[in-house]
């Protein structure tokens, strides 16, 4: 129980928030890296998944399976492999690695979201003379948005957790508290770091759940 008390004291100490190795700076780095990774993943995954889902292509199923296979990738392996490329040990390799892990939830959800739009609705829109592109823009995408938002939420929370590990191999972010605490035999710092990461993940989850609710049309047929 005294560890809990010590952690609370640590978290309450203003000095721990200042400076380049303080909570605020590391939080900023953590968010930056997460944002960049999810951003890249969106750029890669969303257009691909939307296109495959819109066409209801069979290839889509394969692509989703392949993306889900990334669950089997060891995080340290990917991060260190990328750090040993020309990307080096800068944040670039961490962002690239994290982007890889951010792709599957986005890809899967966007694909399924588009593929599973009620065919009757699509037919009705076609019947009204809308072209494929118009159907995509005005009917399918809006209906798929809730699922895409859910995918974004999963992706962000996953990257926040994974970014913690990148601290162990030279990256920045809140994981550094865990890394340093362990390396210095300071259990309080380790636990405080764990609490900070968990809190960030929870905050992101709640925020994006709210966003998901906002973008869910009340009258849409949920797939």
């Amino acid at each position: 129980m005294s560890l809990v008390a010590d952690v609370l004291v640590w978290l309450g100490d203003k000095a721990h928030y200042r400076g380049d190795d303080g909570v605020l700076h590391r939080l900023a780095v953590h968010l930056e890296v997460t944002g960049a990774a999810v951003g890249i993943a969106c750029l890669v995954a969303l257009p691909t998944a939307v296109w495959l889902g819109h066409r209801r292509s069979r290839v889509g199923g394969l692509v989703v399976s392949a993306a889900n296979a990334t669950r089997a990738l060891p995080v340290f392996g990917v991060l260190i492999v990328l750090a040993s490329t020309s990307l080096g040990t800068t944040n670039k390799s961490a962002v690239a690695g994290l982007a890889l892990f951010a792709v599957p939830p986005l890809l899967t959800n966007a694909y399924v979201g588009l593929r599973d739009v009620d065919p009757d609705v699509v037919e009705a829109a076609r019947g009204n003379g809308m072209s494929g592109a118009q159907v995509l823009r005005a009917v399918e995408l809006p209906l798929a948005v809730p699922l895409i938002a859910a995918g974004l939420r999963t992706s962000v929370v996953q990257v926040i957790a994974t970014a913690t590990l990148s601290a162990y191999v030279g990256g920045g972010g809140l994981g550094q508290f865990i890394n340093e605490g362990f390396g210095r035999g300071d259990q309080v710092e380790t636990a405080a770091g764990g609490v900070l990461v968990a809190a960030l993940a929870l905050a992101a989850e709640l925020l994006l759940a709210g966003v998901q609710r906002l973008v869910t049309p009340r009258t849409a047929t949920r797939p």
Partner: protein, 220 residues
């Protein structure tokens, strides 16, 4: 400056040749870590889920607790366990087991929940007691869902076991990190990573096969 440039191939046959023993012992440790953690996960998840099944509040509590365990960053969990249980396989297994619980509990509960009411009634009608119904009717019917959970937990743990390196038992993570320490030796790093992926793929296939074997009625 040239003599300081270390060759750094992504693949080296001689590396594989010279380090067969190391790679094999790392793989063996990896299998032990994953096997033990999933086994213990089941040993915990099945009885607990059976106990709370049907009781909404207890079920929710169990799922929430395992959920909380899941959100503890793995690095922190291993780091905090180490002073207690040491630099041992035990520490790594405890950590890995706790991450399997959420998936396993959810799937066991879902599997049990999915047993049709009529089947339970006919079992009762046949005079089967609670225990026998569970073992001979409910669990077998829940098997596909439970095995799906075992598959997810296993593949996740194959990837996660590498984090055990922080407590000196990371299986193939050992290969990856030795490659890092030895001046970013790519062949070693990539070999460790690929072996991990291959192991995950093999585990997935084996468990799919097991699923087919144990639930022949789903083949139709």
């Amino acid at each position: 400056m040239h003599h300081l440039d270390a060759p750094n191939p992504w693949f080296s046959a001689s590396f594989l040749q010279q380090n067969k023993d190391f790679l094999w012992s790392a793989t063996r440790e990896h299998l032990v870590l994953v096997g033990l953690s999933v086994a213990f996960g089941l040993l915990l998840a099945v009885p607990l889920s059976v106990l709370v099944q049907g009781h909404r509040r207890w079920s929710a509590l169990l799922v929430q607790t395992t959920g909380v365990l899941y959100t503890i960053p793995s690095l922190a969990l291993f780091a905090l366990l180490e002073p207690v249980t040491g630099l041992t396989v035990t520490t790594a297994v405890i950590g890995l087991t706790s991450y399997t619980l959420l998936v396993l509990v959810r799937n066991v509960l879902a599997g049990l929940e999915g047993v049709p009411e009529e089947v339970l009634e006919s079992a009762r009608g046949m005079g089967l007691g609670r225990w026998r119904t569970l073992v001979t009717v409910e669990l077998p019917l829940a098997m596909p869902t439970i095995l799906a959970g075992v598959r997810v937990a296993t593949v996740s743990n194959v990837a996660l076991a590498t984090v055990g390196i922080v407590v000196s038992h990371g299986g193939l993570g050992q290969v990856i990190f030795q490659g890092l320490y030895a001046n970013f030796y790519r062949a070693e790093i990539l070999t460790g990573t690929l072996l991990c992926v291959l192991l995950a793929g093999a585990a997935e296939l084996v468990l799919l096969g097991l699923e087919r074997l144990l639930t022949p009625w789903t083949r139709r």
